[in-house]
Symmetry: C2
Amino acid sequence: MNLKELSELLGLSQTTVSRALNGYPEVSEQTRARVVEAAEANNYRPNSRAKGLATGRAMAIGHVIPASSQHEIVNPIFGDFIAGAGKAYAAAGYDMLLSVVSDKDEATAYRELQARGAVDGVLLHAPRREDPRIELLKQLKLPFVVHGRSDDASNSYSWVDVNNTEAFHEATRYLISLGHQRIALINGEERMGFAARRRAGFETALGEHGLFARDDQTFSGEMTEQLGYESTASMLTQVEPPTAVLCASLLIAYGAKRAIEERRLEVGRDVSLVTFDDAMSYMRNDGEVPMFTATRSSVHEAGQIAGEMLLGLIANPDRLTQQKLLKATLVIGQSTGPLLDDGAPLKVRLG
Amino acid sequence: MNLKELSELLGLSQTTVSRALNGYPEVSEQTRARVVEAAEANNYRPNSRAKGLATGRAMAIGHVIPASSQHEIVNPIFGDFIAGAGKAYAAAGYDMLLSVVSDKDEATAYRELQARGAVDGVLLHAPRREDPRIELLKQLKLPFVVHGRSDDASNSYSWVDVNNTEAFHEATRYLISLGHQRIALINGEERMGFAARRRAGFETALGEHGLFARDDQTFSGEMTEQLGYESTASMLTQVEPPTAVLCASLLIAYGAKRAIEERRLEVGRDVSLVTFDDAMSYMRNDGEVPMFTATRSSVHEAGQIAGEMLLGLIANPDRLTQQKLLKATLVIGQSTGPLLDDGAPLKVRLG
DNA sequence: TCGCTTTTTCAAAGCGCTTTGATACCGCGA
DNA sequence: TCGCGGTATCAAAGCGCTTTGAAAAAGCGA
């Protein structure tokens, strides 16, 4: 059923039917009611491509996700972020277009999306500290919102980010307040904006108390269980192992926990653990007293806010860039506790 | 830059330029070369919507993901499956359209996708045992491939599935061969096709050895760490706790492991664990000797195969339905071991 | 009743592409 | 020279919608 058929069926012109359905004022309420009813009855929906062609808008938002080799990691926060953003799009009648591309073709993918007119804007994921994609998108004049921030002048583009610096600053301060002095960091890849900021917050807090990060007690890499496990396992063989570990994701924390317990040590007693928690739907760390003490911020919410921001930018192109800094809140769980007194230092019990 | 501009620039008609770019034979190679070069130089890409309107094809595949409330779970395999399917789409020049809808609006979402002509086909996720969506899609005459199977006559539609029955049959047999008799199951939601099959495989293997599943040692629910933890924790308080547990996902297995170790028991010694492993990129269970004994099958690969199958169906609409059953392979890891001899039964050590 | 304004409806153009059916061109044998 | 079969190119229609500019219908005061 298309517009022509529907209008013939009603004995009206296509113009009138179109206007009736799109809520234009120059059609009588009586006619509108008739039209709406007939459209409903025949399950009529305007053809997306024809509508887009006529209006010059794609009514779609693009997400480019790089996934080159078989072993390339798919960002685990992806699903929840997408769900949040998708909700915003759906509410506004927009579609979500996903482009899975080999990572070296990413720039091409954006160019193509723009040249084809396939999307009205894009959402940029996982910005690196210096990210050429941002300049590219500006140049393409494609509206965009970044989930996270690069190191560049950050008011020159729109973004939604979580206060990573402050989150890890606070988490570290909390550990110090419990008496910990040897605090390790298992971070994400530090060429990523968020990971660099987390390290900065961590180091600032240490510095404020005359402490410093040891090279052999700071790690960074793809945020997997394995990274958490291996990093922690290696530290537990040191002469002076850390008494607390700060993890950049729940998966890392699981790995750290595994290494600790494998050594017959107790999390929260022998070694304290704090982790960043993206509040992912399938990996909850909540309840009365969560398993892990964590700085928590919902990536689902970030997705929704970013999606809404982008739609706003598209609806109102001459609006200034917008920024939104979400707070991560520190939640005390079972994985932290005060430093044990010197009478029973960790290294002795490790023996 | 659109076709009109490009053709004027070249002093050719739109027809010729279009044909040159689309590889039609009735244009001289010399002209074609000129056209291709100019298109390249001007970064020309045909407008997606105009092309779609003219050809009657959307060049897009739809995925509908239900995500109603804030707390609805997003399937953790989603990211990897999408990455696999997306790769297939990209290779064929197709876009991927994601619709995030509140779960009660799912049927409407499919209807709308079809009525709007927004997609040429859809990929159906997570079929329930009886799934009305399958009938709906047939009725809408929208080509589709199901990832998994319902209970219906399964050759009446196309699907890609993993041999869940056989996988859990084999896993259970393996545990029995190690001497285990009290084997627990922590399954996904059993209204889902895959979960029902896993239970069937499990029970069949037990039956073959005169064993049976105890009600208080079989669980099913959303496949989270918490489900694994709570189910296992509750079983370890029983008079005759299981000596082996079969888990439907790696997250469940993590939870089971946590409960076991919290009791100061050892996985693979006191309690054996076998899990289904979707080989997700951010949750690896591999290496020399993986942490968990598992039946492994790559969901990324399933996505790619399903995507390719759907594209084939679209390209060749009168082709019969197709089915592809992937095998899950049993990989021996560190989480299983022989039943300890009766001299030191589990329940005593549990004391 | 007429003429004017306001309301309601319509025909047709245009969005950027593909594709049909026709036309111009070219070389070649008769 | 003419005519014929390819080859290379083109003009125009059509895909399904929106939107402009015009026309018809209705309402209203004089």
